[in-house]
Subunit: 545 residues, 2 copies
């Protein structure tokens, strides 16, 4: 036998760890740090799960969150919804196992996507109070009640005291006790979170019982949002790695039929086109024989081909009307403008929609010690983002805007509320705590354009108040001299009829003053066009194929 | 059989996922987004692993990073060190399995801590080029070469082409090919990263071969840093959950001996003291019978008891001399000041040290289009933090400082380099990409004080240049009138001897001008004292027990 080396000794400490253990040790990555933030994270996880479940089941959500202070600074959180419930077989894994869920692998627009959130709460309850979480789940036929905890070492759920009864109740009630949390009404509090959730989810009715009072956010609309649907991946959104993965797990007998059955926008015409771009690759062999180099060449070919943009019917923006209704209700602004933009694509093929709004005056903005300040309201798939503003695509986009151009002298100290909702099947969060959108170039640029559009409306309004009257005065002043000037000019220049000159002078002045207002808007549109030309050069018209 | 409920249907899509799959889908959480940032992340992971391994093995590090451009915008990264190598049995898990490693569970100061980094690189290579990583590992007796990839679905390593030979070579060579990366020399580039690594690791020698030239960062010091040692947890750093965990896995026969054997600073005197605080808890029973309520009461009792601060010999600050040497070498500043502060504690019992420095003039600061700007250099356990500055404790601390107080009119546009190194057994990173320190209160406050100390030195220097001469002039001007005033005053007031009055006037003026300089420093010291009083009220003197 060889002697023990230094490496052998060092690696005698080698261990494998469960993902639950990783997040227990790095709880701040899930948003569990700071007593107020931790409590908001808990409320966020339960509310987004409830909203997702109701939406998928086509139910108008009726949600209740109660925060009940207990001895020793503990807080009991009770979350209740009228959703479809969780079947008995899945309760444990859905609420007490990390990286398990119905959403991770599906191309679907959801608030949650990772299968960590609710299980993270179960773990945090257990970490801080040693207590399991009590769950009541009704699916419309049976009600199951149980106590749940998570075996951190193995990331497996532990169910205790399971009781099953017949009942028509459907919904989910979770009762969990936490320590290391604190309730207040700051801008990072559960209160603020729920207020913003109500704003972005006008179809939801939310009851909030906090330690001092009972609040009710009524439903502003009875329209159930369309059920989110799964979408096929778009050829432009695919990496070589994805293509290999999909091909190797596809039951199709030929690569060509794998393409048409797996991808969106992949007609047989497109297969022929692809064949002509990569003539050396045999598209008739079985998909599992696709090699990396071939897949790489195919992905490159995709980039050169023109494609119909990805379908966007799976995306569920809130809608301009709904946003306007909610804002006018809550802020009563002097001026309001909103835009739901056309769907765009990032990373080549992930469709997304940006909705932006700006409210000015009334209760817009945020009260601070030094008066009213501007307020940025960030959302991803209708879920409010309260934390980590620094690294977020929305903040980055707002930073790049020259507000002076829109007659806002100091963005920080103007009573403005800027609203942005990022809608996508896949939200590139910067962390597992899901509080900021990764500032990818296409995303930042599209958010920027959306805000510029509403800012332009705001500027028109502000200049309509101030600058237009100013311009009108100047115009009149000049006009007063036109007649005299037209009389003198022929004399000076020694040619032409004074009445002709007067006429053209008037035309000149009028057109100058009409144009200048639209000049800036034109500049911006040009910038936007250039950005679009840069991004992939794609954009075949949609047509029946 | 009951009918299928909505919930049954929805949960038919339920799946479990591996942590590798999670990070493949959320690669931005590991720092793999943006082509430049991705490449820097790769270099960061390899370099920190090499430095950690060399330190633990007591070897002066000799590191080489080569970036070799390949066809189709691929880049081959070759990382080579002279460390202890990895034994054959562990190569796969160390480099191609997430959450596996030697560091996660140990209380030890390391750059890495999670067992994700290097495996993340293996996955990123595979995701972008489909190619395994080639590894050569020598432990001083055997050299193993192999190709490595990661089975993403199961998070298990796959080894191929394993060849083992006898050889005295020790070290690790990793060759990996990536796409979706880009090399430049921006402030976020591998070049900048290595420059800063060299600064904070003066004992390391780094060769960097980039696409255009070969660079060499020579070793500035031959002193091998002390080997990091494991530390026992401190009673103040423990949560109820930790206590239960430790107790239930401890072989000790009594709770009392479990305390003295497991924790730092836990003498038998302390056991008696604890017994008197929680008289109802039986400290003689076996540790695995410790109940949650008891553990909670014990943790509370710990908070009330006085403890000797945690041992800090496990912490490895760079040291004032070494930092000064490195800075003077690289920036040649007009003025330089550095402080390695006394160890402090956060979350009750995690010891940490903050080192701060400020360099002014010379090549300090950062060149921008508009001239020189201030530059913030952030480090955690000597590893540079280039990204996510927004949410980092260091940035937060710097933001709270009123630079005008230190005669810096505009922090942004002054040729200043501010350096902060956060040293701890546990760094609370905000994300798995390890680029920002979570802004926990005690941490931000200590960083703030460290920077204020060096800023005060800077202010003395600046005021020594400007303000002192100013003050001297004023003092002289006043002095000129003293004699005349002392003659006139008795007349006006009708009492006393003019020579006595003159004397006390002179004293008054002199003491006023001596004091005012120290006034601000005193104010700051008071603020600091208050902060310390607030934090736990602990701090028993260390003594033999």
């Amino acid at each position: 036998m060889a002697e023990k080396t230094v490496a052998d000794e060092m690696f005698s400490e080698f261990q494998e760890h469960s993902v639950a253990e990783f997040f227990r040790k790095n709880r701040q990555m899930l948003g569990f740090y700071g007593k107020v933030r931790s409590l908001t994270t808990i409320v966020h996880e339960y509310i987004t799960n409830s909203l997702d479940a109701c939406e998928e089941a086509g139910i108008l959500p009726d949600l209740k969150i109660e925060l009940r202070p207990l001895e020793g600074e503990h807080v009991k959180v009770i979350s209740e919804d009228n959703g479809p419930g969780i079947p008995k077989s899945h309760i444990g894994k859905a609420l007490a196992m990390m990286l398990a869920g119905t959403k991770f692998h599906r191309h679907m627009q959801m608030r949650g996507q990772q299968g960590i959130g609710a299980s993270g709460c179960t773990m945090f309850a257990q970490m801080t109070t040693g207590k399991p979480v009590h769950v009541k789940s009704g699916t419309g036929q049976k009600v199951v009640e149980c106590d749940l905890s998570i075996d951190v070492q193995t990331n497996k759920p532990l169910l205790m005291n399971v009781v099953e009864t017949d009942s028509a109740f459907h919904g989910l009630v979770v009762e969990a006790e936490f320590a290391e949390v604190k309730y207040d009404r700051s801008e990072y509090s559960p209160f603020e979170y729920l207020k913003r959730s109500a704003l972005a989810n006008p179809h939801a009715q939310i009851t909030f019982i906090d330690p001092s009072e009972k609040l009710f956010f009524p439903r502003a609309s009875d329209v159930i949002p369309k059920r989110p649907s799964e979408v096929q991946p778009h050829p432009l959104g695919i990496t070589t790695n994805d293509l290999i993965d999909l091909a190797h797990h596809c039951p199709a007998r030929k690569i060509s039929s794998f393409f048409t059955s797996t991808f969106a926008r992949f007609s047989s015409t497109k297969v022929s086109e692809l064949r002509s771009v990569v003539p050396d690759i045999d598209l008739e062999k079985v998909p599992r024989e696709l090699k990396w180099a071939e897949a790489e060449a195919i992905v490159k070919a995709f980039q050169q081909m023109k494609w119909v943009a990805p379908a966007t019917d799976s995306l569920q923006p809130i809608g301009e009307d709904q946003i306007e209704k909610a804002f006018k209700n809550i802020l009563g602004p002097e001026f309001f403008s909103v835009r739901s933009r056309k769907p765009k694509v990032f990373r080549g093929g992930v469709p997304f929609v940006v909705e932006a709004a700006v409210a000015y005056g009334g209760k817009s903005g945020r009260s601070t010690a030094n008066g009213t300040a501007s307020d940025i309201q960030r959302f991803a798939n209708r879920a409010p983002l309260l934390f980590d503003a620094g690294g977020c695509a929305i903040t980055e986009a707002i930073k790049t805007i020259d507000w002076k151009r829109y007659d806002i002298d100091s963005f920080e100290s103007t009573p403005l509320s800027v609203f942005v909702n990022f809608v996508s099947v896949y939200v590139p969060y910067t962390g597992a705590g899901k509080q900021a959108i990764s500032p990818e170039e296409e995303v930042v640029s599209e958010i920027r354009f959306a805000i510029m559009e509403v800012a332009r409306d705001l500027q028109r309004y502000l200049s309509g108040k101030v600058r237009e009257s100013d311009r009108e005065a100047k115009k009149k002043a000049i006009m007063r001299y036109v007649h005299q000037l037209s009389l003198n000019l022929p004399e000076l220049a020694g040619a032409g009829k004074s009445s002709d000159i007067e006429e053209s002078l008037i035309k000149l002045i009028q057109s100058k003053y009409a144009k200048s207002l639209n000049l800036e808007a034109e500049e911006e549109e040009k910038e936007e066009e250039n950005a679009e030309k840069k991004s992939n050069g794609n954009g075949e018209e949609e047509k029946e194929e």
